[in-house]
Amino acid sequence: MSTVQTSMPAQAVAAGEPSFWSRLSGNRNWAAFWFMLPTAAFLILFLAYPLGLGVWMSFTDERIGRAGAFIGIENYQWLWDDSIFWLSVFNTLFYTLIASAIKFAIGLYLALLLNRHMPFKAIIRSIVLIPFIVPTVLSAIAFWWIYDSQFSIISWSLIKLGVIHSNINFLGDSDWARASVIFANVWRGVPFVAITLLAGLQTVSPSLYEAATLDGATSWQRFRFITYPLLTPIIAVVMTFSVLFTFTDFQLIWALTRGGPVNATHLMATLSYQRGIISGRLGEGAAIATAMIPFLVAAIAISWFGMQRRKWQQGSNND
């Protein structure tokens, strides 16, 4: 009897308290963790780790083929006194601001145009997307020929039309080069802005425009008081993305100008590549790349705080 009595509670404990592992695999709260694990592992391995490594590298004097030693903020001190670095910062800001502003203006205009009823609407909408789906390097090479100092089709056409008398040195002159790369970037970036804004426009109920028409709004007033305010959340998102993409642009510049002439089109991304990979000074390249982070964070912060969900979007929606 006594043996039975002592063994019974032990069995009860074993049955009532499952093992640590079975609790981990069976508990509903832990299930969420298990589902997140693959994605989290992927993000950590391919995003967080390289980013952390890059930031760490910017505090070392690592070169290609040679492990670096920690040198503190020496790379940054060096960059602080480097006029080419500051030129690239200016170029990047200039490039981003001008290109994004133009992309927004043209993209919005195109979206409004494509939102109207017109024949072959679907085909025209797909044509607008073409610049977006052509690989960047291919379009860059096409632009490279268009901007060629001797065989440029633009120069040729303008000469034939009698507007100018000699070829324009598109990529050889600082101002022309800046304008040219901005134009190429705008050409490539407009479809994204236009199609996204078009998607936003299509969520606006046509009856709102009819109501506004009956309320006496002109077409400009309908845009100003109905379309634009209703589109601001989409504008905020699309322009944040557009700014981030433009700020970090590399392919187009590298294929067209490699930062020239005389660094006039060097962006932070291209300078980082040139210093880090071509010249082999990984630490310095990483420092330039890391220096982009505050700008990107600032851009996201502006969109986050300045353009987050508006009051009218809050509350329940029981349509």
């Binding site: 009856s207 009819e210 028409t213 309320d215 008081f225 109905i226 209703l230 009051k311 009218w312 809050q314």
Partner: protein, 355 residues
């Protein structure tokens, strides 16, 4: 306030004509309901009145001005949309004051106008809310408020209650009618719901396939429908139709399906043997010993009345009784239509035969 004249209005989309010459006179201060099944052209007509669709031919005048080529904003009308079309990014007050703002009214004028309309509709506590924060009925009232603020010549309503639940729909129906009695603004109201039409209208216009089937007061349409379509459309449950022929054999009677004999007060002239459709409303059946024999199929008690589905001469009919009967499926009853209240329609044209 002013009268509205719709004269021989036609509308085509491409080669497809959806309105085939519609004429409706609307008096100053009248509440007119356009009713009909979907696709009958009632909403198109309303939108033409608002200026949102152009007029293919014919004329529409508001007051004594032909408005065919007048811009919507110059027509001095206000419209309440089916989905309310409230501006989601504006507060209730801004929604209501938007038209005044566009007209260039002073801020004080706008706020006085908005306050006046808000008081009429009991919207004052909601003026600072956004449309998302309102219930369906409140949004509906804001939409009406937006119309009232403008003090227009004509109110247009495009199925304004169809997004509300049944209970709210009844409440808003009364509210709109009360509002009209108070403001006495000429109103054109579109709906597919004949009960809304019956309860609210001074004048109902029944439309079907782009033509006006009949125009008149609710009770005129109920008592003397001009044709079989109107007879079937107005009234709930719908009128029963039995095919057969008029017989004058001493006294007039109607020979229904399978020889069932139904009473007639009198036969139209020269109608002996004429094939016709006999119409009787469910509420005009009584149980009488000299009625026609029918077999009960389904009984639906609603409390206040009992709906009885029965086979009469092999055809299913529905009868409604105010008094309670304890019927069971399979029971035989004798149903007698009230001869003074039956309707006779031409078998081929559907036109009314008796007066």
């Amino acid at each position: 306030m002013s009268s509205v004249q719709i004269r021989d209005v036609r509308k085509s989309f491409g080669n497809f004509e959806v309105l085939h010459g519609v004429s409706i006179p609307i008096e100053d201060g009248e509440f007119v309901v356009l009713v009909g099944p979907s696709g009958c052209g009632k909403s198109t007509l309303l939108r033409m009145l608002a200026g949102l669709e152009n007029i293919t031919s014919g004329t529409i005048s508001i007051g004594d001005r032909v408005v065919n080529n007048v811009q919507p904003k110059e027509r001095d009308i206000a419209m309440v949309f089916q989905n309310y079309a409230l501006y989601p990014h504006m507060t209730v007050a801004d929604n209501m004051g938007f038209s005044l703002k566009l007209r260039g009214a002073k801020p004080e004028e706008i706020s006085t106008g908005v306050k006046r309309a808000a008081e009429i509709l009991a919207l004052t506590p909601l003026l600072d809310r956004y449309p998302r924060q309102l219930s369906g009925g409140q949004r509906q009232r804001v939409a009406m408020g937006r119309a009232i603020v403008r003090d227009p010549q004509v109110f247009l309503f495009d199925e304004p209650l169809s997004n509300l639940d049944a209970k709210l729909r009844v409440a808003m129906r009364t509210e709109i009618k009360e509002l009209h009695q108070r403001l006495k603004t000429t109103t054109v109201y579109v709906t597919h719901d004949q009960i809304e039409a019956m309860t609210m209208a001074d004048k109902i216009v029944v439309m079907h396939d782009g033509i006006v089937e009949q125009m008149g007061s609710p009770l005129e349409l109920y008592d003397t429908p001009a044709n079989q379509f109107v007879a079937g459309f107005i009234g709930s449950p719908a009128m029963n139709f039995l095919k057969g022929a008029v017989k004058v054999n001493g006294a007039a009677y109607f020979e229904g399906p399978n020889g069932v004999r139904l009473p007639l007060k009198s036969a139209p002239a020269n109608s002996d043997g004429k094939p016709a459709v006999y119409g009787v409303r469910p509420e005009h059946f009584t149980i009488a010993d000299d009625g026609a024999e029918a077999e009960i199929v389904v009984v639906e008690p609603t409390g206040s009345e009992t709906q009885v589905f029965a086979k009469l001469g092999g055809e299913q009919v529905v009868a409604v009784f105010r008094e309670r009967h304890l019927f069971n499926p399979g029971d035989k009853v004798r149903l007698k239509p009230d001869p003074a209240l039956v309707h006779l329609f031409d078998d081929s044209t559907g036109k009314r035969l008796n007066s």
